[in-house]
């Protein structure tokens, strides 16, 4: 049956419904495109035959293949579009620098798209809130206090806060830091928010 490969691509994304980005299935896409090419060529020759020799009995088959072409197109576009949604979400979860393992899962065009998205978002955030701009990826939950207690979950190296003090983020050490400075690190799983 046609279109099995295309649905397999969609299933692959559907299985990871929490928004993780699986590796770009270049091979799968290629196979679907090949199938579409074969369908298209077969349809072309059938259409010509139907026109020149008036063979109207070919029409059901032409329609059949046409439906398969449309189906393949739908599956591929849905696959690519859903991946873009996931990549966009990564910008909000990980910040502007992605871990290499995840970047490894993107194809060249997706990396390009991610960079463009980063730029658009950054220039939008610069345009907000007067001179300095406003980071809208901060304070996703309304803050109760400006400083919070955090514990390091892994060695992260040196970290500079607003007043110029440099602190060493060492595993299991605890610090009292400005909330906006560590929100991103908490989201990335480097720090843990401690509530006493």
């Amino acid at each position: 049956m046609f279109c099995e490969k295309a649905v397999e691509l969609v299933r692959e994304l559907h299985r990871m419904s929490d928004g993780q980005l699986p590796a770009f299935n270049e091979d799968g896409i290629r196979q679907v495109l090949e199938e579409m090419k074969a369908l298209y060529e077969q349809n072309q020759s059938d259409v010509n035959e139907a026109k020149t020799e008036g063979k109207s009995e070919l029409i059901p088959s032409i329609k059949f293949r046409h439906c398969c072409l449309l189906r393949n197109q739908r599956c591929i576009t849905a696959y690519l579009y859903d991946r873009l949604l996931r990549i966009r979400a990564l910008r909000w979860e990980y910040g502007s620098v992605l871990p290499t393992t995840i970047r490894f899962h993107m194809c060249a065009e997706e990396v390009e798209w991610f960079n463009q998205y980063k730029k658009s978002l950054a220039s939008y955030m610069r345009s907000l809130g007067g001179e300095e701009g406003l980071d809208i990826t901060q304070d996703m939950k309304p803050p109760k206090s400006l400083y919070i207690e955090v514990r390091c979950l892994k060695d992260h190296g040196e970290f500079e806060i607003d007043d110029g003090t440099v602190i060493l983020l060492k595993k299991n050490s605890q610090h009292f830091l400005p909330r906006w400075k560590c929100e991103q690190l908490i989201r990335q799983g480097v720090l843990e928010h401690v509530i006493s």
Binding site: M1, F2, C3, V7, V10, R11, L13, H14, S17, D18, G19, Q20, Q42, D46, E57, L58, P60, S61, K63, F64, H66, C67, C68, L70, R71, R74, C75, T77, A78, Y81, D82, L85, R86, R88, A89, L90, W92, E93, Y94, T101, I102, M140, K141, P142, P143, K144, I148, R179, E183, I186, R187, Q188, G189, E192, H193, I195
Partner: protein, 211 residues
Amino acid sequence: MDTRSYMPVPPGVGTEENVFSLDDILLSQERLPCRTESVFPGLGFVDKSSDSRHIPEGTKMEIPLWLAKGLYERKRRVISVELPRVYREGWRTVFGADANVVDLHTMGPYYYGLGSQMLHFDSPENSEIAQCVLQTFIGRFRRTMDSSQNAYNEDTSVLVEKLDCLERALFRAGQSGLNAFQLWEKGLASHLTASSLVTNYRKRKLADLQA
């Protein structure tokens, strides 16, 4: 509060399909029993049970919903679509008796979605199907809602195993509301946590290492 940044394309409502929705694509992959009303020249290989080069008229075969929708036309019939078992008279009586006991996951799992899609094909039973699907949903909704609102910190696999895909989505929505409310009650609503994407990713990497 749901702070997840990844929001998939939602499935279409009612008889509409959403082109980019992964759920709708998988729904339209469901197979329907059909009968061909004309010859399909040169496509014999699609029907694996025969060796002929063509699909002859009157062949009974199962084709996916998307293909049935594409080929189906009122004026020029090339296929006729039959109702899947669960939407026929016999099963409708069962749903009418007590919809709560039926395992819609094994019957479906897209019972409501497919039921609404079946209305695209002019069948004399259309209005009964629509009624039955609606009544089934109404009959089961209360139970789904109750269980999603009252299972806190529990294993929910038993509760969801008989639910259709639509009901599962509702169940999840109820659960996330319940969990968010409980967090708020404990004063943890402003607690910053690692993104679920990051934690899940790390878990998977750990599993890869151990394998």
